[in-house]
């Protein structure tokens, strides 16, 4: 198929947009917004097209595109490093997710007034990196885009973020930004080492993933170097105990960045574990699966417990992300088709859900200026739509049937019970804790008698509603009709080595 340029376009569009915005004078704020939103819409449409056109009956890598970048120099042989773009059934839902979240993120970001030109430039860089990772079939470029997605984070959080005052101490946005950046780059340092070792061991003179995948690596090698990928990518996926950047970073970040980061970037980590770790090193994955399982379960439980203890709305969502990414890692650790299926489904489900969460938290924070759960009360009377959106995200998060979260979690738990029943039970316990903190939050902040202090609050702005609606549609869509997702994912999961 020669439609690989579609994939290329998803990377080129944001980069070109960044250049275009750079050329617009910074006083033309409205024009900048229009250009960025147009780009967001284009990416959304492209990602829907890619999702729809992916032929799941055929499976495998599709939309192949190769552009030679560096070859026949030093240790690189022919086609040493190529910009090799291709997607399989695991990447297409994530490409779609990125399209959805960036579009709604652009809509949400209309309210940004301070240097919005720079903001959109960095946001576009970020999203081109994300698309790049999901679509790269070349180890060098996968890593290139992975770092590219981390690059703008410091400034995005540091300049446009918000600090949180805990009374006795303050978590500043600079702190959150630096912590996030250093954790992610340190994680990628491990990946770096893994890549060097893999390239040497394979001895093929190329970074092309399909070629590297054909090599059989010795068992010792797999066992030694799988952890580099598992932990290195795991840091970005919120792997406990390396998750602490996530709540601080996501809370400090501006709304659209939290949406993208918690919604999409954390999935880069889990995706990296599948695409690089599990695809190249099946025996290593099997050997380390128990460790991943224990860490994932701890993360899920720990995240849920911590979420319960939070008083700040955004921190609740931040910790719930850690908890939900714990599910993803648990699903990956099962190494059986249904569990891994569930993990990928959860990546999508959590992505749209958490993006909706952060969008809503941003909407209320813009108006009220605080995020303290217990100071609110009865907001449903003033902002019914806001509460409806928030509640649906919450219900999806606790796994209510008919919403995206249920489909995903059901698969993960089914997979867990097949191999590790005890951990399946712990997973369900986590879901129960999730229900506690979500329902308690809804009751305290949004329902009951109206706190007169907030009588002046108005319904969300139209753009925020639009952004929320887009996300909501996909939560419900996947909840009632998961087939398009499952069809695409299942095929590619079965094709992974060592799954069965």
């Amino acid at each position: 198929m020669d439609s690989g340029w579609l994939l290329f376009a998803t990377i080129a569009v944001p980069l070109t947009t960044a250049l275009i915005i750079m050329a617009i004078p910074s006083t033309y704020k409205q024009q900048v917004r229009w250009v960025a939103t147009a780009a967001g819409f284009t990416m959304f449409v492209l990602s829907v097209i890619i999702f729809a056109l992916y032929n799941y009956k055929e499976g495998g890598l599709q939309f192949d595109l190769r552009l030679c970048w560096l070859e026949n120099v030093a240790f690189l042989g022919k086609d040493g490093i190529t910009l090799h773009l291709a997607v399989d059934g695991i990447s297409v839902p994530l490409v779609l997710l990125t399209g959805i979240v960036i579009f709604s993120g652009c809509l949400i970001s209309w309210s940004i007034e301070y240097r919005n030109k720079d903001f959109f430039i960095l946001l576009m860089l970020l999203v081109s990196g994300v698309f790049g990772v999901f679509q790269s079939a070349d180890l060098f470029f996968l890593f290139f885009f992975y770092e590219l997605a981390v690059l703008p984070m410091y400034l995005l959080i540091g300049v446009w973020g918000s600090s949180t005052d805990f009374g006795t101490y303050v978590r500043t946005k600079e702190y959150g930004a630096m912590k996030l950046t250093l954790y992610l780059v340190a994680g990628s340092a491990l990946v770096f080492i893994g890549i060097f070792a893999t390239f040497v061991e394979a001895g093929k003179g190329t970074f092309d993933l399909p070629v590297l995948g054909q090599v059989t690596y010795s068992e010792t090698f797999q066992k030694t170097f799988y952890p580099f990928f598992m932990v290195g990518f795991g840091v970005l996926a919120g792997l406990w105990p390396f998750h602490t950047w996530s709540p601080d970073g996501h809370v400090a970040a501006p709304t659209a960045v939290s949406m993208l980061h918690a919604g999409v970037l954390m999935k880069l980590g889990a995706y990296g574990i599948i695409r690089v770790g599990m695809s190249l090193f099946p025996e290593g994955a099997e050997f380390w699966a128990p460790a991943l399982l224990v860490l994932g379960t701890t993360g899920a439980l720990y995240g849920a417990m911590s979420a319960m203890a939070q008083r700040d709305l955004k921190y609740v969502v931040g910790y719930s992300s850690v908890s939900h990414m714990g599910y993803v890692l648990m699903g990956l650790a099962t190494l059986n088709p249904i569990g891994v299926n569930g993990a990928v489904l959860q990546m999508f489900a959590h992505g749209v859900m958490t993006a909706l969460f952060f969008a809503m938290v941003g909407a209320i924070y813009d108006q009220a200026g605080v995020r303290e759960i217990w100071t609110f009360g009865g907001l449903a009377q003033r902002m019914p739509r806001f509460v409806a959106f928030f509640a649906i995200a919450g219900l999806s998060s606790l796994g209510l049937p008919g919403l995206a979260g249920f489909v995903a979690e059901f698969n993960i738990f089914a997979g867990l019970f097949k191999t590790y029943p005890l951990f399946g039970a712990l997973g369900i316990l986590t879901a129960a804790i999730t229900a506690v903190y979500i329902l308690r939050l809804l009751a305290a902040a949004f329902f009951g008698p109206l706190n007169e202090k907030w009588a002046h609050l108005k319904e969300m702005r139209l753009l925020e509603q639009a952004a929320g609606a887009i996300l909501l549609v996909f939560i419900v869509f996947m909840g009632v009709w998961p087939a398009p997702f499952v069809d695409r994912i299942a095929q590619s999961v079965l094709a992974l080595p060592g799954i069965g």
Binding site: A74, F144, E147, L151, L155, G158, A186, F196
Partner: protein, 491 residues
């Protein structure tokens, strides 16, 4: 002897004399125009040196003009070109005797070029001294500035000391191999060295120490921060670029050619030096509050990375590490020039060089802040920019030769370097400016910075052309080695 082989250097020397006499006899010539004249000289020499692309000729067994030499002629010529342009404003405002200043810059290029072109020890040594002496004078060029004088003196004393050590090492090697020619040394070392092993080893260690000083490897780095801080800013840039580049040109020639047969003995020393250099340079950089000192320590850290390229050389191994080293060297020099020129522009306007002074630069001079940010991200090895690509290649090249542990340390030191680079970026973007006045960027400096940043981006996004050039340069070096090994005789 084919005297025409050295035409680019005649041009540079003649041009240097011309610049001095222009300054002396044409009083009405504006001082900054001397900079443009000198830059034109460097550019002319660079263009003329293109004649010898893919050519290989020997000048009386002293100098070899091949792709390796041509690569460095172009490289050094362009460095001098950019330094002259970037100096114009600074020299006019703050220094006396501009004629000699530019002349010395051009002479340094000759020294650097011959270090790369040398075919035997003594020529290499003399070229090294030509380079060093020009730099000593330039370092203390701010005559009435105590710091500049101190820096120059310190640089000269330590430099002379290290030159002596280098010379002693050379004499030992000469003593046991009975030749000063690189090819001859390589031939002798390929044979039985059991009888001369100790003297040889001592000689090599002393040469490593001497060269380690020139490129500022730990523990021979002590002069670097002081010299960088005290020297006039454009000279700081010049030292950080040409002294390192020429040092590594000679390093490669010596260790990749003459001493290569002994690689198994010395590569572990270099690997150790490399580790110490990258760890110390990057960790100490965190502590700095002056941007010159910070960049000085960061450049020490970069030297640690580059030494990996030397440590990865093996007697019969591929020339990859050398290519990777040259690639990273080029990327580092361009990036470093870009970062420093931004600092020069800022210093010209404000006279400040503490990191805290950069607060809110993004509001006052958005273009400058953006360029400095790009350069810093490139130094820290972030993608889109030169640093990512060249580091990746260099680290992979080391990993190819069983140095995965060294690559791992290097990767983590890159993370550290990101930390202090973010510290500067934080100042520029996150803090409010102390003065709200916008800083104008003069047109010439704007163009210089833009050109360098384009270079940084180009290397990051499409390195193939440069990499091909680098491969040509190193293959000239290594083909000669292999040919000598096969025939068993040196010229």
């Amino acid at each position: 002897m084919d005297w025409s082989l050295l035409v680019p250097e005649y041009i540079l020397a003649g041009w240097a004399a011309m610049v001095v006499s222009l300054d002396l006899f044409w009083g009405r010539l504006r001082k900054e125009q001397l900079a443009y004249v000198a830059a034109a000289g460097a550019l002319t020499a660079t263009l003329v040196s293109l004649i010898w692309v893919n050519d290989s000729a020997s000048f009386g067994n002293l100098l070899q003009v091949d792709n390796y030499t041509t690569f460095f002629r172009i490289f050094f010529g362009l460095i001098a070109f950019f330094i002259c342009l970037a100096s114009a404003q600074y020299v006019k405002d703050r220094l006396l005797h501009p004629g000699e200043y530019y002349a010395l810059i051009l002479l340094t290029v000759i020294g650097g070029t011959y270090m790369a072109a040398a075919k035997e020890l003594l020529t290499a040594y003399i070229s090294l001294e030509l380079l060093s002496f020009s730099l000593y004078v330039l370092t203390s060029y701010a005559k009435f500035d105590l710091k500049s004088n101190e820096a120059g003196l310190k640089y000269m004393l330590l430099g002379a000391f290290s030159s002596a050590i280098f010379l002693y090492g050379m004499s030992l090697v000469y003593g046991v191999t009975k030749t000063t020619s690189f090819a001859g040394i390589a031939t002798t070392l390929s044979g039985d060295t059991s009888g001369i092993a100790f003297a040889l080893f001592l000689g090599i260690v002393l040469m490593i120490a001497g060269l380690g000083f020139k490129v500022a490897a730990v523990p021979f780095h002590m002069w670097t921060p002081d010299a960088y801080e005290g020297a006039p800013l454009p000279i700081t840039v010049f030292i950080s670029a040409i002294s390192k580049a020429a040092g590594f040109a000679l390093f490669l020639k010596l260790f990749g050619r003459a001493l290569l047969p002994m690689a198994d003995d010395w590569r572990w020393i270099i690997a150790g030096l490399s580790t110490a250099t990258m760890v110390l340079g990057n960790l100490v950089a965190i502590q700095q509050h002056n941007i010159k000192r910070l960049l000085a320590y960061s450049s020490i850290g970069q030297v640690g990375f580059m030494l990996m390229g030397i440590a990865a050389l093996t007697p019969h191994g591929p020339s990859d590490p050398a290519s990777a080293l040259l690639l990273h060297l080029t990327g580092y020099v361009i990036t470093n020039l870009a970062a420093f020129v931004c600092v020069i522009v800022y210093y010209n306007q404000t006279g400040k060089d503490e990191i805290a002074d950069f607060g809110g630069l993004a509001e006052r001079a958005p273009f400058l802040a953006l360029c400095l940010t790009i350069a810093l991200f490139s130094l820290a090895g972030m993608p889109l920019f030169a640093g990512f690509t060249t580091k990746f290649i260099l680290f992979q090249a080391a990993a190819q030769q069983d140095l995965l542990w060294l690559s791992s340390i290097a990767v983590f030191m890159s993370v550290v370097s990101l930390y202090y680079c973010l510290g500067i970026i934080k100042q520029m973007y996150l803090l409010e400016p102390m003065e709200k006045v916008r800083l104008p960027v003069p047109r010439m400096e704007y163009a210089v910075v833009a050109a360098l940043i384009v270079g940084v981006l180009l290397m990051g996004l499409y390195p193939q052309p440069l990499f091909d050039g680098v491969e040509n340069a190193t293959s000239a070096l290594f083909q000669a080695t292999q040919a000598a090994a096969v025939t068993g005789v040196g010229p």
